[in-house]
């Protein structure tokens, strides 16, 4: 069953196009045209919504011309800093992200298609805040923080406080997401991202599981973080499942138990039974995969 896009011809309503050259200018414009303006970066989500007549902003604020918002920087001390305009492709293929934050690279490489990844930005992906977006579980388990800038202030918000409801974030009207900050994981940590898709032209994620495990000596799990997408109104951490494993020695019965608890924590809307089952399957597989890697 597919939704019919043939009921109407995709068409954009007219808008005024603004291209600020600084963050300050962008925030100024967003403030001036509050309620009537939308930020456009890659455009892969925004223009689709506009074509479907779901939104029709009177002003589009193109932020791609703002310099120094597209970067991937890493130091051991300060961790990873990604500019909001970094394309999904640049994150997927970044050597430093592949090496030290591999699950984020895997997740971003899953999003869309090569063309979409060349155009779409990590900032746009986060601010779109769809329930089944692949980048978010990875950012959740990596304890990512988001730098939000407005005319008067700057604030840093953790990713899990940023997502409020499907396609709704804590971003204020005249605020811009400028940077994603990810601390260096503790030593003896590794993670992975696993998923199943719907069988459609876009291969949307049906269940997505991101795991970060930190081991102590001898397979004792010092810490574990489990991030899920497409199984609740927003991507979520399976905190009860994490409690099952944290501080204990990893072994298959424990992992199965945690996987089961994770499945019970989900709140899927549709295909709920299958999604719960697959959550437990993927959580189990993911923890095992990471455990083998760090052992």
């Amino acid at each position: 069953m597919t939704t019919s896009n043939l009921d109407y011809l995709p068409a954009l309503s007219g808008f005024d196009y603004l291209a600020p050259k600084t963050v300050k200018e962008a925030c100024s414009l967003l403030s001036k045209y509050e309620g009537k303006a939308k930020v456009i970066a890659g455009g892969t989500d925004l223009l689709v919504s506009m074509k479907k007549q779901q939104i029709s902003p009177q002003y589009l604020v193109n932020i791609k011309g703002i310099p120094r918002l597209e970067y991937i920087k890493y130091t051991q001390k300060d961790g990873l800093k990604i500019g909001a305009l970094a394309t999904l492709q640049s994150i997927a293929s970044s050597p430093i992200i592949k090496e030290k934050f591999g699950l984020l690279s895997t997740a971003c490489n899953k999003i869309g298609t090569p063309q979409v990844r060349n155009m779409g930005t990590i900032g746009g992906n986060i601010c779109n805040a769809g329930p089944s977006q692949d980048s978010i579980p990875a950012l959740l388990v990596l304890d990512a923080n988001l730098k939000l800038v407005s005319l008067k202030a700057e604030r840093v918000v953790p990713v899990d406080k940023f997502l409020i409801a499907p396609f709704q974030t804590a971003l204020k009207e005249a605020e811009l997401l400028t940077e994603i900050q990810i601390p260096t994981p503790p030593p003896k940590s590794d993670g992975c991202y696993q998923w199943l898709t719907k069988i459609t032209e876009a291969d949307e994620t049906l269940v997505g599981v991101a795991i970060l495990v930190t081991l102590d000596t001898g397979s004792i799990c010092k810490d574990v973080k489990i991030g899920l997408c497409s199984v609740a109104p927003t991507p979520m951490r399976a905190r009860k499942a994490e409690e099952v494993i944290r501080g204990k020695k990893l072994e298959s019965k424990l992992i199965e138990q945690a996987a089961q608890v994770a499945a019970e924590e989900t709140r899927p809307r549709s295909r709920a039974d299958y999604r719960r089952q697959m959550t437990s399957v993927l959580v189990k597989r993911a923890i095992n995969e990471v455990w083998q890697k760090i052992k």
């Binding site: 309503s13 007219g14 196009y17 892969t44 791609k64 492709q89 063309q115 155009m119």
Partner: protein, 158 residues
């Protein structure tokens, strides 16, 4: 409100007068007469509108024409040189990789970008690079073979 924009397509400069809401795909097809890029799904799912922008495959149905200024755009019309088909185009012809031809321009552009970056791709890498281009006719096998053959030809193996 219409404004004048300059586009650089296949090495040539064009000046067009467009409203901000015009998409690159429509400007290429309707203003510039370059009908190689196709409009099929128009939502960024099928890849038939794929063109190269500064060497990278993008979906021209989701690029505002106004955003394409100051970029180098390559369409399928820019592949052949002096009446000679690009090795990729020739390989598609030789290997039966074209049936109705609708997906072909998009496939060629994605394949060109791949070979420009990775002259010796594995089959898996070819599939990944073409994963954003859907084909309803061929079942993809001949398309993949054609890209492999073109890569070899361009490496001077054949």
């Amino acid at each position: 409100m219409k404004q004048f924009i300059k586009l650089r397509v296949n090495g040539e400069s064009y000046e067009v007068q467009v409203e901000p809401k015009r998409l690159l795909l429509d400007v290429l097809r309707d203003n510039l007469g370059l009908t190689g890029a196709k409009k099929a799904c128009d939502f960024g799912n099928c890849g038939s509108c794929t063109v190269l922008m500064d060497g990278k495959p993008v979906l021209s149905c989701l690029v505002l024409a106004i955003e394409a200024q100051d970029k180098d755009i390559l369409t399928v019309e820019g592949l052949a040189k002096n009446g000679q088909l690009h090795p990729l185009q020739q390989a598609f012809v030789d290997h039966g990789a074209i049936q109705c031809g609708f997906c072909t321009p998009g496939m060629l552009m994605s394949a060109k970008a791949l070979l420009d970056e990775n002259p010796k791709p594995t089959q898996a890498e070819i599939k990944e690079a073409l994963s954003g281009n859907l084909c309803r006719c061929t079942g993809y096998a001949k398309i993949i073979k054609a890209v492999e053959a073109a890569a070899q030809k361009m490496q001077g193996v054949n």
